[in-house]
Subunit: 502 residues, 2 copies
């Protein structure tokens, strides 16, 4: 710092959640604001007991919210700085963030060296970038602006930005690029792979914009809040786990970048690859299979795009000593029948139990992915993976392993559908010609998913199905009558857009 | 909107200034948040009595700030929506902003058609872009990513985004690219040009990060808060004015983009040209001269850059039927002696009065710019501009015109320096070899500029001046003792960085 005044202010807790950006709220007539020349959006350093964070200033013009000598911080900023109401904080000017030079250089078309990516990712991890600056970095990396060597540098920088796990021997993992409602293969793949004797310490995310994340779905039948010690214990005992990734800080820069990418709806191959592969590498995975659904309303829309993405991924994986394979799957419609945490879990359990009514597409996708992993790790011949996975599922080993993992994680309980339901029937006959996955997901969210575990949609109208007037299209489930009504009304106003019957 | 629920919430005023971004604050357990699935950073439409704005959601987890059924808006959002405490607002999902497709296309390297720029600028003007999205657009336009035709499209879109003025006959204007402390030629140029019988309806901005904007300086000797009617009256009577531009909404999209560019410190020729020329065209100017200071600590660092910028500007000006010329000036050190509103005003008045101690560099720059305008408009031969401006200044016509304009704007009063002052003397002998314009500006701001009109620096140490130990380097002026002490301390700790004496 350039000077060392008594820029101390007392923290008041006002409970504002700004998602990831650190915001500090200060009075416009605050002595620190006036003396330092701070105005709205100034970037400042906030310090307390030797800890520092960078925050963006919002100025308060209302004396009710803050007294003289007080300042407030957004919730995440309080957590990051580890302060509570009544603590004293210092506020000072932010010296230039050096790595922003590299971001500008990239924007001006230059190729960056590995050290530049290390600097950028270090500063992002340390929360030194504002949302505006993060958006600029993402824009600078968009399209094909990064050479393969740069994607490798970015991936390596991300791997080293957080915690790293290590395991003895081969460690396998899977990942799906771009969400497809109901595409919840993870618990099935984990059960098959662990039953085959391989190590698969799987961590998954919760939903952010979708009606269910894998962690939300798994939580309907077992405990997912495992710390590193618990994960190690479960994996040592059973060979696999199905944990929520939030407790483990792998590739933290990626979490920050993802929040901005999502709001920009920007698909950048470089960021996508660095994001996925850095998380897997930091988790200690040696053999990884990537599922890329291809379809008009999926993230990857054409096979050309899919192949380009695969080629880049293979190059980066080779550079970080990871054995990788990519599987292309259909991305045109939901997978399985359930959309929502418990409804998706019931599909998974039906597949594992081998029930007759279990969704064939979910089982087939899971076997395909598990099969590739069995082949890649040498558990079977280069063509025998699907059959091996099939027999592990058929003979009940996967179901036994699934239950054992759940017990090791704390419990196995049956997922429960919401008690309020409504059958949506067709008002005309014809053939289903188009499904809007996005609107279907919204409908499930209006039912209450994912916060209401039993809420969502039981879908019964796959593409090209013949429909007679009065046929069941799907059933809505909710845990409250109000939410069910809300979803019904949305459907009434958007039925044609959600499902096209011609 | 897709549905029409009773998403009504009562507005509470909590006085948070987020600069330009619209923020809505809602309780995490608010029925609208829960029903609509809103989470922090969701972009929403806020409506009231037929008016709509788009805002970003911040979620409140503290029940003291908001009661059930209440929501709060950032100050500018309240103003834009024209609501006050107690009004009821509706909140609903934001449909996709269509023009963001064009931004993504631009980021992917495509050239955009004029319609695309119109769509982008219209949506920006309507506050439909978040700061993150604005940053992405700026990044997409950075470097030389826009072809000349695209810069023309962007400029035209900006011209039509706000109010437009029109005047009979020739209308002249000037603009300086990139601030240099003390480079306050505007009032001198306006006085000379109006005295020559030309029309120059000049509007200027207030300081945002500098110790004085032209409007702040002019305000120390006359009234600058003129609306369109007042501007017309003054200009009809005197041929020129010196008004603050804030009351006139010329190129409003530009104001929004500038706030983000500034915080990114991103120089994009395309944005710069569209910004400057759209403002001038919307103001009705037909003949414009641009001052580009060139120097290591100036915005334009090399002559090569300056020439490139000039060429692009000339092409765009031709396409919008504007007669333009560009003048390159020295950008290595402050202009004149004063830094701060009143101190700069005193330099201006000294030049206009023809005082012996008037700063030569400020006078010379003003004459150069006024001279080019006189030549461009055919008031004199292509080589006689400087001499003509010189004689208008020497014979007292400019000073008379200056006083008349001030009176027409409401008053002329003598600017006053701050009553607290401190002489900074050199602790060693040598030659001034480097001046850090940025740190000098900060020192002036610590003295209290621009909020304290009389605060700032009277500079006496131009580059290459020989200094003997004990010589006066500059004088600090302040309106409060505290601020003077603060500035002195900053200087003590940074003297070597501010002025290098070798």
């Amino acid at each position: 710092m350039e000077h060392n005044h008594s820029n101390n202010l007392k923290v008041k807790s006002i409970g504002i959640d700004t998602y990831r950006e650190n915001i500090i709220y200060m009075r416009h007539d605050c002595h620190v604001c006036v003396a330092e020349g701070f105005t709205a959006l100034t970037r400042v350093i906030v310090s307390c007991s030797g800890k520092e964070i960078i925050a963006t200033l919002n100025v308060i013009h209302n004396s009710n919210l803050l007294e003289h000598g007080e300042a407030a911080l957004s919730m995440e900023a309080m957590e990051r700085l580890n302060v509570k109401e009544g603590d004293f904080i210092g506020v000072s000017h932010l010296p230039p963030v050096e790595s922003l030079r590299s971001v500008r250089a990239k924007l001006y078309g230059q190729s960056l060296e590995p050290e530049a990516y290390q600097g950028i990712i270090r500063d992002i991890t340390d929360s030194k970038y504002s949302n505006i600056e993060l958006a600029t970095f993402i824009a600078a990396c968009s399209n094909d602006r990064l050479k393969t060597e740069e994607i490798i540098s970015l991936t390596k920088a991300m791997i080293h930005s957080g915690q790293k796990l290590s395991w003895p021997g081969i460690v396998v993992d899977k990942h799906c690029v771009g969400g497809l409602p109901g595409n919840r293969t993870t618990p099935i793949v984990v059960s098959i792979i662990a039953a085959a004797g391989l190590t698969i310490p799987k961590t998954s995310s919760r939903a952010i914009t979708s009606p269910a994340g894998t962690a939300d779905t798994v939580e309907t039948f077992t405990n997912v809040n495992l710390d590193l010690i618990a994960i190690r214990k479960v994996v040592e005992q059973e060979g696999g786990c199905m944990a929520w990734g939030g407790a483990v800080k792998l590739s933290p820069a990626d979490d920050i970048l993802i929040s901005i990418e999502r709001s920009l709806d920007l698909d950048s191959p470089a960021q996508l690859i660095a994001s996925v592969l850095s998380k897997k590498a930091a988790a200690g995975s040696t053999h990884v299979v990537i599922d890329i659904p291809v379809g008009k309303s999926a993230k990857v829309r054409t096979m050309e795009e899919a192949v380009h993405l695969k080629d880049l991924m293979m190059s980066v994986a080779a550079a970080i000593n990871m054995t990788l394979d990519v599987v292309f799957t259909d991305g045109q419609q939901p997978v399985g029948r359930g959309i929502g945490p418990a409804l998706e879990a019931l599909d998974i359990i039906a597949v594992l139990k081998g029930n007759k009514e279990a969704p064939i597409d979910l089982r087939d996708r899971s076997l395909k992915l598990a099969g590739r992993l069995l082949e890649m790790t040498g558990k079977t011949s280069s063509n025998g993976g699907y059959q091996m996975a099939f027999s592990i599922l058929e003979n009940g080993d996967a179901w036994k392993k699934f239950q054992a993992i759940c017990e090791a994680q704390g419990r196995f309980s049956e997922p429960k559908m919401g008690e309020f339901k409504f059958d949506v029937t067709s008002s005309k006959g014809g053939v289903i010609t188009r499904i809007d996955n996005r609107k279907l997901a919204k409908l499930a969210k209006l039912c209450g998913a994912p916060h209401a575990q039993g809420a969502g949609i039981l879908f019964a109208s796959p593409l090209y199905k013949k429909i007679i007037m009065g046929d069941l299209l799907f059933t809505l489930y909710a845990q409250s009558k109000g939410e069910l009504e809300y979803a019904k009304e949305y459907f009434k106003l958007n039925s044609e857009a959600i499902l096209q019957i011609v």
